[in-house]
Amino acid sequence: MNVELGFWSLGAVFLLIAWRVPIGIALGGVALLGIAYLRNWKVSFAILGTTPFEFVAHDTLSAIPMFLLMGAIAHHSGISRSLFKAARLWLGGIPGGLAISTNFASAGFAAASGSSVATAAAMGRIAVPEMLRAGYDKGLATGVVASAGTLGSMIPPSIMFVLYGVFAEVSIVKLLIAGIIPGLLTAGIYALMIYLRAIITPEIAPRMSVEERIGLKPQRWSALREIWPLLVLMAGIIGGLYSGVVTPTEAGAAGAFLALVIAILQRRLNLSRFMACLVEAMVSTARIFFVAFSAVLYSKFLSMTGMPFWFGDLLGNLDSTLMLILATSLIFIVLGMFLDSLGLMLLTLPILLPMFESAGLNLIWFGVLTVKFLEIGLLTPPVGFNVYVIKAAVGDKVPLEQIFKGVLWFLLCELIVVVLLVAFPQIALWLPSTM
């Protein structure tokens, strides 16, 4: 056993990442040297020569480019704008209406997009200016977009669930379905919090005048006309996954294809914008896969050190599940402050999964918790990626600190969701158990 070496390697990876070494290079490089040290260069090079192909040439992972393409088509065809418009017409009149509309429009967009950052980016440029124009508090206006964007990873499709499923060797379909209720629950709790805050402190979200509210009504049904084809498609895809008619890859490819057809029929997408969708999706795929196959190399090295088993044994002596979950939450929250969600998940899973397996915990439930923690990591300073995405979208209008401050309220909601998920695992597990 070389558990100590495992710890040193983790330190080395963090150090390299802190010195702006790309995460994939840090993981792959440390793995290569580590395996050579533990065994020899021959073994190390042999693993290097076969792992990338073996990992990538995998039909399950093909859901990732397809989900990304579906999200890109939905975004570039302007569906995010139409969703916000419809949500605003239906919900804009209630206290905190524009922020609640943004929240539910993000949840709707999350059903077409597999990525939190993409969801936040899609909504950022549309919803924030509208809220600022209406005199909303800057923290609330930006915080809601950054936070509701995280629904992109929880509500299917989800890139993170696909990667988790591959690493944990659990059913990706069940994971995707397991994310539905926690995702909707999060959106519901966000909406409730915004509503209550807007009632208690009306100046943070000035309410529309009676005339304005009346003015919304006539356009409501026409706004739905623009978005219903895509919403029906997304519901159909989730239904197809649930009933087992299609695999996640097939759902992604058929979804992307049909979203393309809808966008063309609605004259929302031309050739140049479709090409941009393709580039965006495939370039993101390549970036994700590079980190992912390097993480596979690193987890092969870690298992050679015996570190995951050492942690498993350590936890075998702890008989409190709650302690395990608390420790895991702490690890995710602390590391989530510094690492991006992909790196965080791929770095921690090789260590955490054996622990949860040996404790006999449900890995689908752990998957939902993991994605929840990754979402929280997207919002916590100093490296909260979604906050930076919103900052990039709003420019100098809102300082970074104010966005982080606005996000605090949503983090409080996340805490409630995590407690509920831990106390009632059925929130995540009920829907997949009916499949």
């Binding site: 010195w19 702006r20 490089g29 093909s62 480019p65 440029r125 393709l278 580039v279 370039v283 970036r287």
Partner: protein, 187 residues
């Protein structure tokens, strides 16, 4: 020299587009298979194997050089953000040099594997027949090799001219078409 660099630029962009074409074909192929299986009750043989062994490999490895030359691989700049540009140029040069070593090692090993698989005539069993898979090993090799050459070029640029040299070799990614989205199309 400059025509060789131009050829490299062209190759990097061309490979990115081949990766995109593979993504497009993947979507069409799988969607056609879903339709054929569920509507015509006659699935397209070998879809999973072709997707896994060809489209996926092209999608994953062909755009990597383009990524490095454009927006860059995923990294964290939290702890180095405050550093002067000159120091960052130095750090980036060292990182590009290390990356180049790693990628040439990966390319060399990928070549050994690809060559071995070609000699074996690697095939996958698919729908009662066999699918020749070994050429896809060379797809990976090409992607990694061109990527390694791009990082080598960035290393040399950094060594010769520091941060200025690196910046002059980096190309901004394609503009976001959202910026020129006509209002009519989205309202």
């Amino acid at each position: 020299m400059s025509s060789a660099l131009k050829a490299l630029d062209w190759l990097v962009v061309a490979m990115m587009w081949v990766g995109c074409a593979a993504g497009l074909l993947m979507m069409l192929h799988i969607a056609a298979d879903v339709f054929a299986r569920n509507v015509l009750n006659d699935p397209i043989d070998g879809t999973i194997e072709i997707v896994s062994s060809y489209y996926m490999v092209a999608v994953a490895f062909f755009p990597l050089a383009y990524v490095t030359r454009g927006e860059g691989q995923i990294y964290i700049d939290l702890f180095t953000r405050w550093m002067p540009r000159r120091t960052l140029g130095l750090i980036d040069t060292v990182i590009y040099a290390l990356t180049t070593v790693f990628l040439f090692a990966l390319a060399w090993r990928s070549y050994e594997t690809a060559h071995g698989k070609m000699q074996q005539g690697e095939v996958w069993e698919s729908a009662g027949g066999y699918l020749v898979v070994w050429p896809s090993r060379y797809v990976l090799l090409t992607g990694v090799l061109v990527w390694a050459i791009v990082t080598l070029r960035l290393t040399v640029a950094g060594l010769l001219r520091g941060a200025d040299g690196i910046d002059s070799e980096l190309h901004p990614p394609l503009p976001d078409p959202e910026d020129d989205l006509p209002e009519r199309a989205v309202e």
